[in-house]
């Protein structure tokens, strides 16, 4: 796969595009998005491996406005964000050449650790398998064991709105991504409170979850506004963090494609996807199924209404387990 993607990158560069791709970071697993402008750079630095989790679509907001054309490699989940951002008039589509790359699922270190691997120094793509180098020698593991949480519950392998594809077109999948939300809903309020207190207490307010999110691309963000009461990086009151998490999730409600980037980048391993998915699940249940980014036409649920929408008191009426 790496060779095919790399060859395509060179071809597109020579046809006059800048190329948005990935290059190795400090460690083998922190592969970083990068813009390539020369053949030498691509040959030297371009990587496409099982750790290319980063969603490229956010970078297209700026890149599509920089003049000239930019080529990007998008995984199926990235294409949902890509289309959602077009719907919000953030990406100038005509300046982007989108190459859809079919995806066998991306891996992360959490999964490798959970699979019992220690001292991992590198990993190689072997299709269904992953060849993991460790301090104690090499080990081959099933790729399914190394998959990140979001890839284990992937909602769709469909590549939307691409100019070209590498690999086969895929299908929407039946996903179990709401199972964990349901488990929380079934708890008592006290248990839920204890759960979230445990999770959110770890937040260091680095803002990475906001910065990485394609939906969180407002030019003026409320969290940069000193008057918002939730702006500080070193909060004066514990309230600020709670405001931050609730408002961050609320601001992307109806626009979040569940791409999983926020949870991926959180250095404190806070399961932010459980907040986003709660909104997605509620929207699906209360206002009808909706997948952000799936098309350009459907009105987003929070800028739409029905006269017979349920009243807010439904939250109490349906109980903790709707």
């Amino acid at each position: 796969m790496q060779e095919r993607v790399k060859a395509k990158a060179i071809e597109l560069l020579e046809s006059g595009c800048r190329v948005l791709g990935w290059k190795a970071g400090e460690f083998f697993y922190d592969v970083t998005p990068a813009v390539f402008t020369s053949r030498e750079e691509i040959e030297r630095d371009f990587v496409f491996n099982p750790f290319c989790g980063a969603n490229q679509s956010k970078y297209l907001i700026a890149e599509s406005r920089r003049g000239g054309r930019v080529a990007a490699f998008l995984k199926p989940c990235d294409t949902y964000s890509f289309q959602q951002l077009q719907k919000e008039h953030r990406i100038l589509r005509e300046n982007v050449y989108a190459v859809g790359v079919q995806c066998p699922g991306m891996c992360d270190m959490d999964a490798l650790r959970a699979a019992g691997l220690r001292g991992v120094t590198g990993a190689e793509d072997r299709g269904e398998k992953l060849l993991v180098h460790t301090l104690r020698g090499d080990r081959e593991v099933d790729r399914s064991l190394a998959l990140s949480e979001r890839c284990r519950v992937c909602k769709s392998k469909k590549l939307l709105d691409c100019d070209e594809m590498i690999g086969q077109q895929g299908e929407e999948l039946v996903s179990t991504r709401f199972t964990e939300v349901e488990r929380l809903e079934a708890m008592t309020p006290e248990e839920r409170f204890a759960f979230w207190r445990g999770e959110l207490s770890r937040c260091i307010r680095c803002n990475a979850c906001r910065n990485v999110c394609p939906a969180c691309s407002c030019e003026k963000c409320v969290f940069d506004n000193p008057a918002s009461g939730a702006e500080n990086k070193a909060p004066a009151s514990s309230f600020e963090e709670n405001l931050f998490h609730i408002i961050r999730a609320f601001h992307v409600a109806g626009r979040c494609t569940d791409c999983g980037e926020c949870s991926r980048v959180c250095p404190q391993h806070i399961p932010l996807h459980l907040l986003n998915r709660k909104f997605i699940k509620d929207i699906n249940q209360l206002y009808g199924p909706y997948q952000a980014g799936a098309d350009l036409e459907t009105r987003p649920p929070l800028v739409d209404f029905q006269q017979d929408d349920p009243e807010p008191s439904i939250v109490g009426e349906r109980g903790t387990n709707p």
């Binding site: 309020p189 939730a230 009151s237 514990s238 209404f305 807010p312 939250v315």
Partner: protein, 146 residues
């Protein structure tokens, strides 16, 4: 607020200018009583209520927050309250999901002619929140005791 050992909750009531705010006025002119714990904040339409305002009210010491707007179909701007309804439903559901007592937030549609309903709603809401006591959880969410 603790006065004479008896807990009095602080209630922030966001009232739409065109209906509930006038409803509150009517309750006043009709000398219908409702507790002084209710602090009314006038907004131009229920749709003006940014969810952040609710959290901000809690941050500044409210124990309960209520939004009052025109009845669905009667919004001065035609449809504002329909959007507000969706937002509040989702926000309240999220607060519930975080384990915050769900009785601390509420939406009620009160028209300018419903002074009695306004007073009744406030009396009821104040006693519900008084029963729950001080709002601690939203603040404590991040302070792990263990």
């Amino acid at each position: 607020m603790q006065v004479n050992q008896e807990f009095r909750p602080t209630i922030a009531a966001f009232c739409c200018n065109w209906c509930s705010y006038a409803g509150a006025d009517l309750a006043g002119t009709n000398r219908l009583q409702y507790p002084a714990d209710v602090k009314i904040i006038r907004i131009p339409c229920s749709c003006r209520l940014n969810p952040l305002f609710i959290l901000r009210a809690f941050q500044r010491g409210a124990d309960g927050v209520i939004l009052c707007g025109c009845h669905p179909g009667d919004c001065h701007y035609t449809t504002g309250n329909y959007y507000a309804r969706r937002r509040m439903t989702l926000l309240f559901s999220m607060l519930d999901y975080l384990g915050i007592e769900r009785e601390r937030t509420r939406v009620e549609w009160v028209s300018a002619a419903e002074g009695a309903k306004f007073a009744e709603t406030m009396n009821e809401f104040v006693s519900t929140v008084a029963r729950l006591g001080e709002n601690r959880r939203l603040e404590d969410l991040r302070c792990k005791s263990e």
